[in-house]
């Protein structure tokens, strides 16, 4: 698969004037046709885009993780009945109908991939980043997870077990990273600022207190 840079080149660089990319022209023609046929409502398209560009994103998942960090009862619920616990915060639905939370500990690190396509827990993380859908990640995560983590500048102790979860069905996985040291007494909102998207895929670690203060 070609990389994000190709999209950048064919897309953003040629937004204006007559230099529209072939892909951009094709998409325009397709949208006009489907609206003309009455198959799609342009107003619904705008709502879909607005939803995934501004409303649904990793801030949802960060709220789930931060709550699990401060509330042992919620953490337990999250790990035993993830979908219900996450739904209690208002998140669920498309591409997150069957959610499972995976807890990282000092002995086990979880990493999530979809080798066959791009399955990803949309309600809590939004749409997947380009690297998650890229051939390098999909090919290597299941065979050389430590090498992949190295690409993200994450180095784990050699005796930390790595569990890779290939999302091959409709179950969607959310990693609950370890709570960073030095955050005693922090509230949920403050903790949520430490929870990165990559840390909820297992490809990164949360920010440290000194990164946000």
């Amino acid at each position: 698969m070609s990389r994000a840079g190709d999209d950048l080149h064919h897309g953003a660089d040629h937004e204006h004037g007559s230099e529209l990319s072939e892909t951009q022209l094709r998409v325009r023609a397709l949208e006009s046709l489907l609206v003309d046929k009455g198959y799609v409502d342009p107003a619904a398209l705008d709502v879909l885009i607005e939803t995934y560009e501004t409303k649904v994103g990793p801030h949802n998942g960060a709220r789930v993780v931060a709550k699990a960090w401060v509330d042992p009862g919620f953490r337990q619920w999250l790990l035993t009945d993830s979908g219900a616990a996450i739904a209690s915060l208002g998140y669920g639905g498309r591409q997150g109908e069957h959610l499972v939370a995976l807890e990282n500990t000092s002995s086990v690190h979880n990493l999530v991939v979809c080798t066959l396509c791009s399955c990803y827990p949309w309600p809590v993380l939004g749409l997947p980043p380009v690297w998650y859908k890229s051939a390098p990640y999909r090919s290597r995560a299941v065979a050389d997870p430590r090498g992949v983590l190295h690409d993200f500048e994450v180095e784990l102790p050699a005796d930390t077990a790595i569990r890779v979860w290939d999302s091959t069905a409709e179950v969607r996985y959310l990693v609950v990273p370890m709570r960073p040291a030095g955050t005693d007494g922090w509230g949920e909102a403050e903790l949520a600022r430490l929870v990165t998207r990559d840390s909820m895929i297992g490809a990164g670690l949360p920010k440290r207190p000194q990164d946000v203060r």
Partner: protein, 220 residues
């Protein structure tokens, strides 16, 4: 199918390149492709499994040369033509040249939030008891269907352990091709890294897939 989409363990793609502060979309047409794909999916003319097959069922060189939203675009165009909703000359023209085909529903803006909230749960009532339980040793079958499947090549023929049971779910291998939902038990099967990749693999790694019961046989 054994397509280019089935990437687990393939060499030569290089390093993963995370993009700092990555935007949700890299071009406006990507926004439109996402929305068109979701809105057309809501018309009920095909299943999510059929959409996945339309994306993956292409020559490897073609699959590998497209960006991800370009694959979605190609898959969507293919389904539209296959199902008789549009014709190739209309795709070229960018306007309707013939009357539209009746679709089950059209997604309205006011119904969009509800549709996303409901999603499309795939769990179904069990038609029969489960054949396996957590702790069982199973082998992923050595199978190579030319049709849609969600059993990746890198686990086929290998032995693992059932580590989770997820109930019965719609069976993509059937549902992708219009043969009905045919619900099957779904399990997480965990494989030791060395079982999959040999002696050089990280001894501290385990990889799991979510596998439907027809993909599995008892290991003993």
């Amino acid at each position: 199918m054994n397509g280019a989409h089935d990437m687990g363990g393939v060499h030569g793609f290089g390093a993963v390149l995370p993009e700092p502060d990555e935007p949700v979309f890299h071009a406006d047409w990507e926004r439109r492709v996402l929305a068109l794909t979701l809105a057309m999916g809501a018309t009920g003319q095909w299943t999510l499994d059929a959409a996945r097959f339309a994306r993956e069922n292409r020559p490897p060189a073609d699959y590998l040369s497209r960006s991800y939203y370009q694959i979605w675009l190609a898959g969507l165009q293919q389904l539209l033509v296959e199902r008789g909703l549009v014709a190739p000359d209309e795709l070229e023209a960018g306007r309707s040249l013939r009357s539209a085909k009746a679709v089950k529903r059209t997604l309205a803006a006011r119904d969009t939030a509800g549709l996303l909230k409901r999603g499309g749960p795939t769990d179904r009532e069990a038609p029969r008891p489960a054949r396996f339980q957590v702790g069982d040793q199973v082998r992923a079958k050595n199978m190579h269907p030319v049709t849609h499947t969600r059993l990746p090549r890198y686990v086929r023929g290998h032995t693992g352990t059932i580590t989770r049971a997820h109930g019965c779910h719609v069976f993509p291998d059937s549902n992708a091709h219009g043969h009905g939902e045919d619900p099957q038990w779904l399990y997480t099967v965990s494989f030791q890294g060395r079982e999959l990749w040999g002696a050089a693999a990280d001894p501290a790694m385990v990889a799991s897939v979510d596998a439907f019961e027809p993909y599995l046989e008892p290991a003993r």
